[in-house]
């Protein structure tokens, strides 16, 4: 996976979670559905944002698999 991909996935996860939270607050979506989306998206947000800022700026794949 490339650095840019990790950033896109992390931000997309946060964006989707925030959007469903907003829709639930406005009454367009049941609260439980927004909570379910947050439960799925939050781990993706945490891991992909950390992978993004952890990655070096080169072209190498992250995370390195070996040793």
């Amino acid at each position: 996976m490339k650095k840019q991909t990790a950033l896109i996935v992390g931000l997309a996860a946060a964006g989707i979670s925030a959007a469903t939270g907003l829709l639930a607050a406005l009454g367009y979506l049941p609260v439980w559905a927004a909570e379910l989306v947050a439960v799925v998206m939050f781990p993706a947000f945490v891991i992909f944002i950390a992978l993004w800022w952890n990655a070096k700026p080169g072209e190498e794949d992250i995370p390195f698999i070996g040793y």
Partner: protein, 281 residues
């Protein structure tokens, strides 16, 4: 929704820092600053990250995702006043996470941690006893109903004190540096977490911060009642400091002593439940 999770993560990490500080001060050491665990998590997220060649890749990464996911779900469960049985289910899933994390890497140290996680399954029994004891009084397992019961009859901490002790023991068994923390004992390096480093460890720290927040919040909700946020946080802090005190003055038990103590406490609580059953019909 994500803002609740970020808030709980931040407070959970701060609580971990306070936990370390309190332990250090009781033991006569200056200790780290209380925000150390926040820095610690950030530090891990910048460290080199890889997956060991001997690891099951899907399980190695998947277990981290599941760890954050189940405690996120548990937080929403508490916020929505859901069933205490579902909280119990999340707690059991955490046992699978501990075990799976240890088995996913291929390292002998993590496998020892995983095995210790399984033999300390007795730590789940007091929670089951807590659930039964609470039902005797409230006739409901909904957290919202339990909170409503306490508004009328007073805190369950007083009414069902042995059940509160059981839940307290459950939280103690999941605290870092505690007498029951055998799965992450130093003689097996970091136990089941040994091979999860870099981003994976940072994500696990997030999951454990959520876990600490959820367990302390659950204790306050179930045994004291629904309070304003500031008072809830204060009550959680008081419970945490008391746990830190126990951790500071109690050496880590051997795996077999851990199981023995937890089984004895569960046995005592089963007797309490039987007496409750006889008295309350």
């Amino acid at each position: 929704m994500i803002e609740y999770l970020l808030f709980a993560t931040f407070i959970g990490l701060l609580f971990h820092g306070i936990h370390r500080k309190v332990i250090a001060r009781i033991q006569g050491r200056p200790g780290p600053p209380i925000w150390q665990e926040i820095l610690h998590t950030l530090k891990f997220s910048f460290k080199e990250t890889w997956i060991p060649k001997t690891a099951s890749h899907a399980l190695f990464i998947g277990i981290v995702v599941v760890a954050i996911g189940i405690w996120s779900a548990a937080l929403f469960l508490l916020l929505s006043g859901g069933s205490i049985l579902l909280l119990f289910a999340v707690y059991l899933l955490h046992k699978i996470v501990e075990h799976g994390m240890g088995l996913s890497t291929g390292s002998p140290y993590t496998k020892f941690g995983a095995i210790r996680s399984v033999i300390s399954a007795a730590s789940e029994l007091p929670l089951l006893v807590t659930v039964v004891a609470i039902y005797f009084f409230t006739h409901s397992l909904s957290i919202a109903d339990i909170a409503a019961y306490q508004e009328v009859h007073g805190p369950l901490l007083i009414i069902a004190f042995p059940a509160a002790v059981a839940m307290y023991l459950v939280i103690l068994s999941k605290m870092h540096y505690g007498p029951f923390s055998i799965i992450e004992a130093k003689e097996i390096v970091s136990g089941n977490m040994t091979e999860h480093f870099g981003v994976w460890r940072a994500a696990l720290e997030v999951a454990y911060a959520l876990k600490t927040y959820v367990l302390l919040y659950a204790f306050v909700l179930i045994f004291i009642g629904s309070l304003p946020l500031a008072l809830t946080l204060l009550a959680m802090l008081i419970v945490l400091v008391s746990l830190s005190f126990v951790c500071a003055v109690t050496p880590m038990l051997s795996p077999y002593d851990t199981v023995t103590v937890q089984s004895l406490v569960t046995g005592a609580l089963v007797i309490y439940i039987i007496i409750l059953g006889v008295i309350m019909g």
